[in-house]
């Protein structure tokens, strides 16, 4: 049974990746999850320097989901390399570092520093965090901006480059295409949906940051649709995510067009989810006599619908 896949020069043993911002720096989970069994660990977004993030409350629960506005609290790239990467190396994790910047130069600098660090396997470009005003999302919401930051990072690293796309645009597929044209090895999507929740008694927003990003099963069907749209316009691998809770959810994303997936919010609910997802995927492969999991990618059969459309 072959669950592996390729992203640029990087071979992942399976498609299950811990989503950035939902798994700390990986080391927090090392005692309860064998990190080497994951397809990858996307660590919390890193800027050049430390950031304190937003004051709490930083999360609020919503139906089948949650809003967060953490504000990219983080230890910065240098402390990450010195204080966290050694343990990740020791645990044989496939480390995907989510990198952030307030300027193009900062992305390039962070990418350059990480490219020289032993034990970093890929870079995910965070151009999609909805919770900070400067940088990031301003690149992710503009086609020239997306192209510029991807190609700039591409020039300074041999590591696979995976821009993480925001769903807060009209046509996510055009951003997927811009990323591919700029030399991305893969794209990941979706980051969270910009959202809001209000306490009706106080009439105050429930988050200090007023708005936050919606994640969890509530967004899954929209994320699946977006992966499907992107699959139709790019050839590079897609890392899909959005509220994945079960093996069927993983398979749904893959059939829509994802080569790998990330699990975020549901890891909060069940930190032991990984083995359950893996068991479910293997059972599906057995049931459907699938030898290579990648064979199901993008195989959603829309022919009946298309025929009906033509005949109507």
């Amino acid at each position: 049974m072959d669950l592996s896949l390729q992203i640029g020069s990087l071979r992942l043993p399976n498609p299950l990746i811990a989503a950035s911002g939902c798994f700390g720096y990986g080391v927090e989970y090392a005692d309860i999850v064998d990190l080497s069994t994951l397809g990858g660990v996307a660590v919390k977004g890193l800027f050049l320097s430390e950031r304190e993030g937003h004051p709490p409350p930083r999360i609020v629960e919503t139906p089948s989901g949650m809003l967060n506005a953490i504000g990219l609290q983080g230890i910065g790239v240098h402390r990450f390399i010195a204080e966290r990467l050694p343990e990740l190396r020791e645990r044989r994790a496939i480390v995907i570092v989510n990198i952030c910047g307030t300027t193009l130069d900062e992305y390039v600098e962070v990418a350059r520093i990480l490219s020289d660090a032993e034990g970093v396997h890929a870079l995910e470009l965070n151009i999609s965090c909805p919770n900070i005003k400067e940088g990031g999302i301003t690149f992710g919401c503009s086609l020239p901006g997306t192209h510029a930051v991807v190609s700039a990072v591409r020039k300074v690293t041999a590591l696979p480059v995976i821009p993480k796309l925001t769903p807060n645009v009209t046509d996510v597929a055009s951003f997927a295409r811009a990323a591919e044209e700029a030399g991305a090895d893969a794209i990941s999507l979706v980051n969270t949906f910009l959202a809001m929740a209000i306490d009706v008694h106080t009439r105050r927003p429930k988050l200090t940051n007023i708005v936050g990003g919606l994640s969890g099963p509530a967004i899954r069907p929209i994320a699946v649709r977006m992966v499907y749209e992107c699959r139709r316009v790019v050839k590079i691998p897609i890392v899909g995510m959005g509220g994945i809770a079960t093996a069927d959810d993983v398979l749904e994303f893959m059939i829509a067009g994802a080569n790998a997936v990330q699990v975020g919010t549901m890891n909060f609910v069940d930190p032991f989810i990984w083995a359950k997802l893996m068991d479910g995927i293997r059972a599906y492969m057995t049931t459907h006599a699938i030898a290579r999991l990648q064979d199901i990618v993008g195989t959603v059969d829309t022919s009946a619908r298309e025929k009906a459309w033509i005949s109507s």
Partner: protein, 284 residues
């Protein structure tokens, strides 16, 4: 190391319209839990509410042979999750992750332990009182509420040999006023040569007031903080409080020693009160 158990509800003891004590079968958690640690409970089988809820371990339950059998939680009905836990039936299974977090650091005789609880902040103190009794440490519970009917489970502490000091805001039982009134008096009367450590859990203004009293009187003070929590394992960075200095056990902290958004789940929930930047802690 935390484990996740599909824990059966053994009993749901109602204390009032808003409070109940829920007993859960979880021998693996009961066997390793230390005073002040917490569990994350999934309150429903579905996805709404989605996230688990953190609860201090209220009691370690033992079977007839004295072996650890489970844990209980002290639940106050506030929102959707706690409402579900308020009316959950015996036999229901709830995913239970734990034990989690940094425990209290008890003290030994001749030092005394004073536990100060406000409202639902009683939750972490039964396990602490039991640990202190086992060490032979003289222990007092200062416990305050709005009125007499809202002071629960005092008998559990009496059974552990704890001296009880009560206060109610309406004066219906114990000292009239907030619990900081009798606490302040006791701190003033105690000679400095007689060591005492304060352990505090309750509403933020009460904990802040106790932290100030501890500082003024030069006494050690642990607080157990409650914050909105996403995962309980350090993954999500939701439950931060602004704290000074580095975590003494992990060395985690901002470089340069600035106050730093510190995770309540893995660097707490128990903090040295003087580390906490109280002005920045959301009141509830």
């Amino acid at each position: 190391m935390p484990v996740d158990i599909d824990a059966a509800v053994i009993a749901n003891r109602r204390l009032s319209a808003d409070y109940n004590v829920l007993s859960l079968a979880a021998p693996e958690i009961a066997a390793t839990a230390r005073p002040g640690q917490f569990v994350m409970i999934k309150t429903s089988g579905g996805q709404d509410p989605l996230l688990r809820r953190p609860f201090s371990i209220f009691e370690i339950l033992r079977d007839s042979n004295g072996a650890p059998a489970g844990v209980s939680i002290f639940n106050k009905r506030v929102g959707a999750g706690t409402s579900l836990l308020s009316r959950v039936e015996t036999g229901t299974r709830l995913p239970l992750l734990g034990p989690l977090g940094r425990p209290f650091e008890p003290v030994d005789s001749p030092a005394e332990a004073w536990m100060i609880a406000g409202g639902v902040g009683l939750a972490p103190f039964v396990t602490l009182a039991a640990a202190l009794r086992d060490r032979g440490t003289k222990t007092t519970l200062y416990y305050g509420a709005r009125r007499a009917e809202e002071l629960y489970c005092v008998d559990l502490f009496e059974a552990l040999g704890v001296t009880i000091v009560l206060s109610t805001e309406d004066g219906s039982l114990g000292t009239k006023g907030r619990i900081t009134v009798p606490l302040g008096t006791a701190l003033e009367q105690r000679p400095l040569g007689n060591p005492v450590k304060l352990f505090v859990c309750g509403p933020t203004p009460m904990m802040r007031a106790c932290a100030q009293l501890a500082q003024v009187h030069g006494r050690a003070c642990d607080v157990s903080l409650e914050q909105v929590m996403g995962c309980g394992l350090g993954g999500c960075y939701s439950c931060v409080v602004l704290a000074r200095g580095a975590d003494p056990s992990t060395g985690l902290g901002a470089s340069g020693g600035k106050p730093h958004h510190t995770r309540t789940c893995i660097e707490g929930p128990v903090f040295d009160a003087q580390r906490v930047v109280w002005e920045a802690v959301a009141g509830h």
